[in-house]
Symmetry: C2
Subunit: 317 residues, 2 copies
Amino acid sequence: MNVVALSGGVGGAKLALGLSHCLDAAELTIVANTADDFTHLGLRICPDLDTVMYTLAEISNRAVGWGQQDETWHCLDALSNLGAESWFRLGDRDLATHLVRSEQLQSGETLSDVTTYLCQRLNIAHRLVPMSDQAVSTQVDTDEGRLSFQHYFVRERCEPQVTGFEFEGVESARPSPGFQTALVDSVDNGDGPIVICPSNPFVSVEPMLRLTGVRETLRVSHRPVIAVSPIVGGEALKGPAAKMMSELGIEQSAASVASYYGDLIDGFVIDTLDAELQASIEQIGIPTIVTNTVMVTLADRIQLAEDVLSFAATLRS
Amino acid sequence: MNVVALSGGVGGAKLALGLSHCLDAAELTIVANTADDFTHLGLRICPDLDTVMYTLAEISNRAVGWGQQDETWHCLDALSNLGAESWFRLGDRDLATHLVRSEQLQSGETLSDVTTYLCQRLNIAHRLVPMSDQAVSTQVDTDEGRLSFQHYFVRERCEPQVTGFEFEGVESARPSPGFQTALVDSVDNGDGPIVICPSNPFVSVEPMLRLTGVRETLRVSHRPVIAVSPIVGGEALKGPAAKMMSELGIEQSAASVASYYGDLIDGFVIDTLDAELQASIEQIGIPTIVTNTVMVTLADRIQLAEDVLSFAATLRS
């Protein structure tokens, strides 16, 4: 099998961890969104990529959904005392990741190289790759003007009203070598599904789909593309996806996510809370299963991964 | 009065603090060696400058002589876990200084600008300036080859045998604006002494003296230049000065320091332990006082500062 999981931050990382428990290292490639990357205090920071990395390494901070467990904030306190921006909560342990990455990027390594290095140091067996080695930067257009993603997401706590998005640099960005390799159909590796994790469709998944050739490759591929809804009962479990839908004039529902992905997907997974939407989603031609998508425990993550893989086995692109 | 103090790290910082208790902010300029600066993990680190800064801010770690008090090492532990170099002990709070400085330098600020900014944030009233805004990099020639200063000093714990020094970049480096202004005789500001703090003559003081025009300015100045011996009883209180003297074939004694400075200085200060050297130093034409130079308490620092200033009042260049 050759399964590809496309992941944003917290929700995606949970399913990615579940998949890593169901599949051998050679059977899975996890691709993380890097359009939320930014440079802060001179450091290159990759929030989604790091959330997936820390989750796979089982050192993530589950209480807040980002950063590392047992984190301390002494550097941040000192930064604040020195008048530096402190809205982005850089933990002392987390800082080490950004320092190592920034230095390696500075010395000419690609983000893929650095990610492979960090994953190896953190004893992560499965392949985690950034979506691209070229910088893509999500800009959020709001009623308060255009904001870079982390300014919108962290500094402004998603409060401004969203009117649209732009992914700076995406036109010239290519999928990373690991993403590209995993995307291509391969008889040797079998033809496992492309899993779109329960991540924000607009700002976590869309940038990955916009990279040069990705949509085209998925369209001609013989592999099923399955998305798991990040919207449950009309709300996002984490993050601003539902709020964004409302502001963009889209109905806040799992069905809207299915419509948003449309032809791209061959199957859709919704939560038991949304069971009544199954028929209407299938009516627009998207096979849909209903299962528990709220991943509280590790067993939940593994169960959802198994459900997705079983569903995939019944589908063809 | 317009007093200029030339300082390396710990010992120099102690006398600088003493002087700051004896003089108004407008009466004192403390110039810190920056030839031990280096770039590490992408951060610009200024160990001597920071030791003086933290000492003046009264947040220095007195137990070890560098870094901040109540420091933690969580980032360093994580760096080590990620396989990064961890021989240079970067504390969590200390890191904030390097992050802010590196970012401001990157954005085009001078080291003088950054230092002024940091001192203001740390509520330091007296002027602390780097010796230069241009990079100077001390290289230590040893029996194990040429080592950059921090590699010699911290990583190799001063163990290699020293054969000489080179100060890369010093030929084209100019004194920082604050150093230059403080050096120039000024009737308005009076004619206070130039105090060479009890710092390593070879690697802390020498780079400052080598900057374009500094020795010439001191030579034609009407202001007395007074050095305090960093060697007490044939040993350095801190650091490798005595070991270096031995390896360079110079007698390990305060008298050797006086000879080393020679014509440059108009007065010399030795410790009571070395009282028997006073006559021989005066015989080579350098007026010398004997006092307690071992600064254990704040009162010791202030007393030595007062002794130096009183001595200066009796001397003319």
